[in-house]
């Protein structure tokens, strides 16, 4: 039984000493500790090694002929290398060691030292290096445009959303993201995770709307072998799988009252009991939930547990519908134009005035997703380097698929597709309108292989093909 070896194993150390015995014994000692070690016989040799590959730690004697350890430290600092520096001194050179600390050495050791002291100093230095590395990664991400720059929007509402994301990412509270279908709820949830201290752990997504009650329970909490028909192996649930990360519960309004109760218990106790199991397993996670329904209203109607609602909306981020933030439409359109021209390897200059006007006057019931699909389609059909108004196919003007058969199945399939289109593929709303439950709708979509495909909607001809399946 051994612990998984920690991240310290992957560190590399450069030993610098003019005395071969010291060099060799330290090199031997560090390689026994499991580190990657190289040795250099002088400061210039060390600089050559540092130029060739990156080291996490340099451990150097202060007294060396030619360039000494302190000068080496200064060079390392001047080059802005990431390596931490530990200096070894004799009694005679303690003064220069203290000077070295002021210059930025991590620590110094006076010869001879206890093996335990060497271990401890090296471990401390490497732990600091690990922290620095993580911070650098984050800085790089932010400098390269960063997580938030993927969320496009210049409206006051979106500026506030970005501010809220930054604020809530740092704390560990539960977040409820509300907004109509296609407003960017999942995008926001991912951004929160990636900016949070949990970012080095998994983000697990549960689409609550797509699963039956039994399945969702086992998806969330896991199950023991034989817990229900079909449970042939024991399985970890998403809360266990998150392992210190974030669980994103999408379409939270779609879970049954029974599952709501179980979920509430997990949020309170921070423990899960697998379906068919008895043992409580401690779990460490953060929850971000999303919904396109009005949960408050559902609470009033007794469809959603009030106590769960209050637990979820500790921090609430509301994404307004696209038509409520018209200034975002042109920037989003340009963003998607660039995104898809890059993908298709084509070059587009932009939009004609009339095209932009057309985009601005549309109501966007399917919000940003609809806009994204619309731009992608326009790029597919356009032969010009500029997008014209007629390249843009918008909801109301779209011809519905003509009937392609008279069997009940065929009619059902077409009808479902129409209703889905009507509700911009919001399955909950579509199911309600169809008078069937959401899970049934979900299975019908699967069975008829219905897809919200860009191409299928780009021309009437393709749409016919789409319905014939």
């Amino acid at each position: 039984m051994s612990e998984p070896s920690g991240p310290l194993d992957r560190f590399s150390i450069l030993v610098v000493d003019d005395e071969a015995v010291v060099r060799d014994s330290l090199q031997e000692w560090f390689s026994q500790e499991g580190y990657q070690v190289e040795a250099a016989a002088s400061a210039p040799e060390a600089l050559t090694a540092l130029a060739k590959s990156e080291f996490d730690l340099v451990i150097a004697d202060i007294r060396m002929p030619g360039m000494d350890g302190v000068e080496l430290l200064e060079k390392i600092q001047a080059e802005k290398l990431e390596a931490a520096v530990i200096l070894i001194t004799g009694y005679a050179s303690v003064e220069s060691a203290v000077r070295a600390l002021k210059l930025g050495a991590f620590d110094y050791l006076t010869k001879p030292f206890d093996p335990d002291d060497l271990s401890a100093v090296v471990r401390n230095a490497l732990e600091r290096q690990l922290l620095r590395r993580e911070n650098r990664q984050l800085r790089d991400q932010l400098a390269s445009g960063g997580v938030l720059s993927e969320i496009i929007g210049v409206s006051e509402a979106m500026r506030k959303v970005k501010e809220q994301i930054e604020m809530v990412a740092a704390v560990d509270s539960t977040v409820l993201v509300e907004g109509r279908s296609g407003t960017g709820k999942e995008l926001v949830a991912r951004a929160i995770h990636r900016l949070s201290p949990r970012r080095f752990h998994p983000l697990v997504v549960v689409h609550c709307g797509a699963l039956t009650e039994t399945l969702i329970e086992s998806e969330l909490f896991g199950h023991e072998k034989g817990a229900f028909t079909g449970a042939q192996h024991r399985r970890k649930g998403k809360f266990e799988a998150a392992m210190g990360g974030t669980v994103f519960l999408d379409e939270i309004a779609d879970i049954s009252l029974k599952t709501q109760t179980d979920l509430l218990r997990v949020l309170q106790e921070r423990e899960v009991v697998r379906v068919g199991g008895t043992q409580a397993i401690p779990v460490d996670f953060r929850v971000i939930a999303a919904t396109n329904r009005n949960l408050e209203q559902m609470v009033k109607e007794g469809l959603f547990r009030a106590d769960l609602y209050y637990r979820l909306h500790v921090f609430r981020i509301y994404l307004p519908a696209l038509r409520e933030r018209p200034s975002d439409v042109p920037v989003l359109a340009t963003h998607f134009l660039e995104k898809y021209s890059r993908k298709m390897g084509r070059h587009f200059h932009g939009f004609q005035r009339a095209a932009l006007d057309k985009l601005s006057s549309h109501a966007w019931p399917g919000n940003v997703r609809e806009l994204e699909n619309c731009i992608e389609r326009a790029l597919v059909v356009s032969s010009e380097p500029v997008i014209r108004a007629e390249d843009l196919v918008l909801g109301e003007g779209r011809a519905l698929a003509p009937l392609s058969g008279y069997s009940l199945e065929c009619v059902e399939k077409n009808h479902i597709l129409r209703v889905l289109e009507e509700f911009s593929w919001n399955q909950t709303q579509a199911a309600k309108a169809l008078g069937i439950d959401r899970v049934t709708l979900y299975h019908k979509i699967k069975r008829y292989e219905l897809k919200q495909s860009a191409k299928a909607l780009s021309s009437p001809e393709a749409a016919v093909k789409g319905t014939r399946g």
Partner: protein, 172 residues
């Protein structure tokens, strides 16, 4: 591999180590004067390793009761060439007497066997293990030696099996 005492070494302890490890013990060698550091009253383990290699053409495990050091460290329990053929360990700091306690021969032999295993592991090419119960966890203090349960953890055992076959060095 052969067990070679360096300097004076109690015959009974040597016989017991040989019996438990199944390693034959060869004739002893003297510690060279050049390895002695008068101010520290210790022996440089790296130099002793060199001497052992001159003396023995094959794999060799030195045992000694001299106190060992390497220039930068105040002391070491032992030293091995990682993946090499020579290692040495000292029982000096494994004795209860060293810490002002009454002698405990049974404990001494347990500790010495763990060190023998440990250095053999290094000879095979095993690095220090993070499992404090594993014989390959680092031993910089006698408390760490006592924490180990005298055998390799499963991971180290797997690696050791492969390496010992490759290198032709038997595990004690």
């Amino acid at each position: 591999m052969i067990l070679v005492p360096v300097g004076e070494f109690p015959a009974q302890l040597l016989a017991e180590l040989s019996r438990r490890s199944g390693l034959a013990s060869g004739p002893g060698i003297d510690a060279p004067q050049s390895a002695y550091h008068a101010r520290r009253n210790q022996y440089d383990s790296t130099q002793l390793l060199c001497r052992l290699k001159q003396f023995q053409p094959g794999a060799v495990m030195g045992v000694t009761q001299l106190d060992l050091f390497i220039p930068v460290l105040r002391y070491v329990f032992g030293e091995a060439e990682m993946g090499g053929r020579a290692a040495i360990f000292s029982v000096c700091r494994l004795r209860e007497e060293f810490y002002g306690l009454p002698p405990n021969p049974a404990l001494l032999i347990e500790r010495a066997m763990r060190e023998l295993w440990h250095e053999t592991g290094h000879l095979l090419g095993l690095a220090h293990c993070r499992d404090p119960l594993c014989v390959m966890s680092s031993s910089h203090a006698v408390e760490q030696v006592d924490t180990k349960n005298g055998s390799l953890c499963r991971d180290c055992q797997c690696r050791a099996n492969v390496l010992s076959e490759e290198r032709g060095i038997a595990l004690p």
